[in-house]
């Protein structure tokens, strides 16, 4: 992993992602060039299959690009190995998914403390407790995910994403599985945490209203960014 220039939180150059399938090669991303500045909130919209989630996976180091260069938080992760990517995620990113992806056999507190524990932080549980309090779940810390509602589970996921104080927060349709009111509440929480911590936010969403809450809006189609504009 090499140091790049310090200007952008995310810098992608001529990024390609192709996957082999039974039907032949499928081009998911076709030459993405993108820079997202530190502290910026960016909404990523587009139809299903346009490559939004793949882009997020590559930015988080969970998927390898076929070609191109990826620099995130000043680190070029294009050629980084699995362990270096794990370290990178631990230090710089927080991720929130539509399906929450909590560890079902761990309590809310254990789920939130987990990334800090992987990082070997001794204050993992204290920090996790604080973060759960911040998302209003201090009374549910010993509950397992299955004992929590969808909104509560997503709040746990948010707490877990923020507990490491990441420089970059990646969110993949975080309200997709929630009703409107709960979804609004989660988004308020997300933007509140962003504004308090100054985190860069890349948000994938199908909801135009949500996208409009971001400072910048990217529109993807068929593996390309077809528009990049500032919101009002």
């Amino acid at each position: 992993m090499t140091k790049a220039n310090q200007t952008g939180a995310i810098e992608l150059e001529n990024l390609h992602l192709s996957l082999d399938s039974d039907a032949g090669q499928v081009d998911i991303l076709r030459g993405i060039n993108l820079t997202i500045n530190r502290g910026e909130t960016v909404g990523l919209v587009g139809p299903s299959g346009s490559g939004k989630t793949s882009l997020l996976m590559i930015v988080s180091g969970l998927e390898r690009a076929t070609s191109g260069s990826i620099t995130v938080a000043g680190q070029n992760i294009t050629q980084a190995n699995e362990d270096a990517l794990a370290l990178f995620r631990r230090q710089h990113t927080g991720i929130v998914f539509q399906n929450f992806h909590l560890v079902p056999t761990m309590t809310a507190l254990e789920n939130v403390a987990l990334p800090l524990e992987f990082a070997g932080k001794s204050h993992a549980f204290d920090a996790a407790r604080d973060q759960l309090k911040a998302v209003g779940l201090d009374h549910r810390i010993e509950h397992y995910p299955g004992q929590l509602s969808g909104g509560e589970q997503q709040r746990v996921a948010l707490a877990r994403a923020f507990v490491t104080e990441p420089t970059l927060l990646l969110a993949d349709e975080p309200t997709g599985n929630l009703d409107g009111k709960t979804g609004d509440h989660i988004m308020d929480l997300l933007f509140d945490l962003h504004s308090r911590k100054g985190t860069t936010l890349l948000l994938i969403t199908h909801a135009p209203a949500l996208a409009q809450r971001c400072e910048r809006l990217l529109n993807m189609s068929d593996g390309h960014i077809i528009s990049d504009e500032l919101t009002a």
Binding site: T53, S54, L62, E63, E82, A86, F97, E117, Y144
Partner: protein, 839 residues
């Protein structure tokens, strides 16, 4: 459509997706059923082989044996009048000597009709009788190869037995009536009956067995013949055997061995049952959405239960059939591989009863173990079924299902006991199995409690590891139970065998004499005593007169009308050694009554073995009537002694007070302890001075006994290993069914910044600790079982043997880690994006 048809249709639909999730289920059942079927079939093959060889083993249709005196007069006349042909055989122990070497042999004198059935195989081959005639100044002898090696001689050389010289004329390859005995004291030395008197070993009171082998006319059955003999001479004191008791010792040995092997098979099936339970539970969990959907659209719990119970029954049937086929075929292979090493030729075949029993055990086990998760699924509300990861099927089933499960367990236990030929052992097996399962379940709870209560480690990996041991849906209970049963059995078998071997190899030699001497004639005793006492290093000489007598009445009632406990029946089966003494031998432990005065000269009085007395239901003041050389003597029990025969202490079950047996024909037997350096001198000196006295080296007997214990131990351990294999399969199955969860966990861990090393370390520690804890629990349970068996069933001193236990614990930890690792390492290679996408 009625409930059953609908259930059947649902079951068929569900089975369309194949049996992929049921591999462990099928293997577990097939393995357990296969083991029981194979052991049962093999046991039947050996029994059938014994029956088929019965005439060879008996040496005729019926064999009549008398000890100490030949069958003569009216008795012999009757035998000859009812038989189509009779052959006389005489057997005894004797010393064969060359100028430089000597060896204890099993001397056999045969008449001209021997063998009535079968043929004797020799090298070089030729007519047997021709080999045994007196020629070139010596009688002929045909001997086993082992003797040639022991005496360092070859065919053609001469050997002295008693006062006679024999020339070795051929090597005995196969003797049709030689039954493999548990303890053989020496190689066969076959001579002509005419040669025997020249040895001067045929003395009154010598330890000689006289046989009359009988061929019956075609219209006479062996049982009729035996019955007729009993009616004519009810108190003859002979032992008459027909085809059903051709080799009672071997039959008993085979019965016991197959019993223990069946127990090992049943234990494997028990472990298989745990696998069946786990597989059913995980299958039902994988079917939660289907079950929930069925319930949501109005399916009653009973319908759901029936549909899945039918599926399990069909799958059980498949597993059992695979096991039955394996169990039916394996004995053919086994017999083909080992038939040369067995004393009889087993008849491999399809034995339907043995297979049916295994199938019944399999079906009952399967039905009993699957009921719990099925009944839970029946009761669980549809909503809960959607949250099985944190709310595993945990409701209590209805009482009726608990009743069925209880009945299943009871039926299994009852069948084990009912179908066993040794119900006492079977009863203990059932009790020990139940206790083991309960102890292991408690052990699993203890492990989970420990993991939950131990202070939370600083290291996240260790915290994760410990947490995984007690979390909802953890595999700790099933792994502890499945692996624990196998480990408990292995450790119990190892400790029991180790303790018995220790008794034979260490404890007994400390207490036992170095030599026993038999057939010492009364006129030789002074010289014999003098010769032994003159040898430095020889000490504690004990010599006693010995004669044989048969217990014919207990308190005046014929023995066949007395209810005698099975464990002491041996005491009334034929002649027993008797002696007389003025004073008790050193170390005698009198537990009731008192020893007589040294100058006692009253009516016959005896001191009796306390354990046999208990089996007879008699005590001090009661009477025993003994037939000694045809004369009935009724003696009063004056005292009871506790005798531990296992120490090979020189003792007699019945000792007469002075004044009764002194004039009866008798020989003496003796025992002596000796330092190791004195042993060769004792052997040489007695052999040179007294050609008729047979010397039995205790060490040789102990080595032979030790070999048998090790052989039996190896057979039981090999079968018990099946239990461990079953445990490993269950372990692998448990890990495989949790694989999806592991993959998911590792993906989420990666998202949260965990390195591959951290994830691997967590998995390795989790399985290593689980294996270690399981090993410790298994060791505790196995040690407890071995203690209970050695101390309370075998009434021996129990010693903890740590090496085996530590090795087993470490192996368990290693194996569990290895299998856990193999089952989960691929989880690390899974692409994260596949599991994280929103679809």
């Amino acid at each position: 459509m009625n409930n059953f048809s609908l259930a059947w249709r649902i079951a068929k639909c569900e089975l369309r997706s194949g049996i992929k999730g049921f591999r462990v289920f099928l293997i577990c059942l097939a393995l357990g059923v296969g083991a029981i079927a194979a052991v049962g079939s093999l046991s039947r093959a050996v029994t059938q082989g014994l029956l088929a060889d019965a005439r060879f083993l008996l040496g005729g249709d019926v064999s009549v044996r008398m000890q100490h005196r030949p069958i003569e007069g009216e008795q012999l006349n009757l035998l000859k009048s009812r038989a189509s042909k009779v052959s006389s055989v005489t057997e005894m122990k004797a010393m064969a000597q060359t100028p430089n070497n000597r060896a204890l042999v099993e001397l056999k004198g045969i008449d001209q009709h021997y063998p009535l059935v079968g043929t004797v195989t020799m090298l070089p081959s030729g007519p047997l009788q021709d080999r045994l005639v007196f020629k070139d100044g010596a009688w002929g002898a045909v001997v086993e190869q082992g003797l040639l090696a022991k005496l360092n001689i070859k065919v053609g050389d001469r050997v002295r037995v008693g006062e006679a010289f024999f020339q070795i004329r051929a090597i005995l390859i196969k003797e049709p009536d030689r039954v493999a005995s548990v303890l053989n004291f020496g190689p066969r030395f076959m001579v002509s009956a005419q040669a025997l008197p020249h040895t001067k070993l045929i003395q009154l009171g010598s330890q000689i067995r006289y046989y009359e082998r009988i061929l019956l006319p075609t219209k006479t059955t062996a049982s009729d013949f035996i019955k007729n003999l009993g009616q004519h001479f009810p108190e003859a004191g002979w032992r008459v055997r027909g085809p059903d008791k051709a080799a009672p010792g071997l039959q008993r040995f085979v019965r016991r061995l197959s019993l223990f092997l069946t127990f090992a098979g049943l234990t494997a099936l028990l472990v298989g049952g745990i696998g069946v339970l786990g597989a059913t539970r995980s299958y039902l969990q994988s079917k939660t959405s289907t079950i929930a959907t069925l319930k949501c659209i109005g399916a009653p719990g009973g319908l759901v239960f029936n549909a899945y119970f039918l599926q399990i029954l069909i799958l059980s049937f498949i597993g059992i059939m695979v096991g039955i086929v394996m169990g039916a075929l394996l004995p053919f292979l086994g017999v083909a591989l080992v038939h040369n090493q067995l004393p009889i030729a087993p008849i491999a075949g399809i034995y339907p009863l043995a297979l049916l029993k295994a199938a019944v055990f399999g079906m009952l086990t399967s039905a009993t173990f699957v009921l719990w998760p099925l009944a839970q699924a029946r009761e669980t509300p549809a909503g809960n079924l959607f949250r099985t990861n944190v709310m595993p099927l945990s409701l209590w089933p209805r009482w009726i299902y608990i009743g069925f499960i209880f009945s299943g367990v009871l039926s299994l236990g009852a069948l084990v006991i009912f179908w066993s030929q040794e119900r006492n052992f079977a009863y203990w097996f059932v009790v020990v199995s139940l206790v083991t399962v309960v102890l292991l379940r408690l052990g699993a709870v203890a492990i989970m409690q420990f993991a939950q209560r131990v202070p939370r480690p600083q290291n996240a990996i260790f915290r994760l590891v410990l947490a995984n041991l007690y979390r909802p849906g953890t595999s700790t209970p099933s792994i502890v139970l499945a692996m624990g049963v196998g480990l408990s059995v292995l450790i119990a078998v190892a400790l029991i065998q180790g303790n018995i071997s220790r008794q034979v190899e260490e404890t007994i030699p400390e207490q036992a004499p170095a030599f026993f001497f038999i057939d010492i004639q009364p006129d030789q005793v002074t010289a014999f005593d003098k010769a032994l006492k003159a040898i430095p290093g020889a000490h504690d000489l004990m010599r006693m007169p010995s004669m044989r007598g048969r217990i014919v009445k207990i308190n005046g009632v014929p023995v066949d009308q007395v209810d005698i406990k099975p464990n002491v029946k041996w005491a009334v089966n034929g002649d027993r050694a008797l002696t007389y003494a003025k004073s008790p031998a050193k170390g005698t432990e009198i537990v009731a009554g008192k020893w007589w005065n040294e100058n006692y000269q009253g009516p016959p009085l005896i001191s009796f073995d306390a354990r046999v007395a208990d089996g007879f239901g008699v005590g001090v003041g009661d009477t025993l009537t003994l037939n000694v050389l045809g004369r009935d003597i009724t003696a009063t029990i004056g005292s009871l002694r506790r005798i531990d025969w296992r120490t090979l202490r020189f003792d007699f079950a019945i000792i007469f007070a002075p004044g009764t047996l002194e004039q009866a024909p008798q020989t003496h037997i003796a025992a002596i302890k000796a330092d190791a350096v004195a042993e060769p001198r004792i052997e040489n000196s007695i052999a040179k001075m007294f050609a008729n006295i047979s010397t039995i080296r205790v060490k040789d007997a102990l080595v032979a006994a030790g070999k048998i214990i090790k052989g039996v131990g190896a057979a039981v351990t090999a079968t018990a290993s099946l239990t461990v294999i079953a445990g490993i399969i269950v372990l692998a199955g448990t890990i495989a069914t949790a694989r999806a969860q592991r993959v998911y966990d590792s993906v989420v861990f990666k998202v949260l910044g965990a390195t591959r090393r951290q994830i691997i370390t967590a998995f390795l520690w989790e399985f290593g600790l689980l294996g270690l804890f399981t090993g410790i629990v298994g060791a505790l349970v196995g040690t407890f079982i071995s203690w209970a068996v050695i101390k309370h069933i075998m009434a021996m001193n129990w010693v903890f043997l740590p090496n085996q236990v530590i090795m087993t614990i470490l192996s368990a930890a290693l194996f569990t880690t290895l299998i856990g690792f193999l089952g989960t390492w691929r989880a690390l290679g899974e692409k994260s994006s596949k599991h994280l996408s929103n679809e």
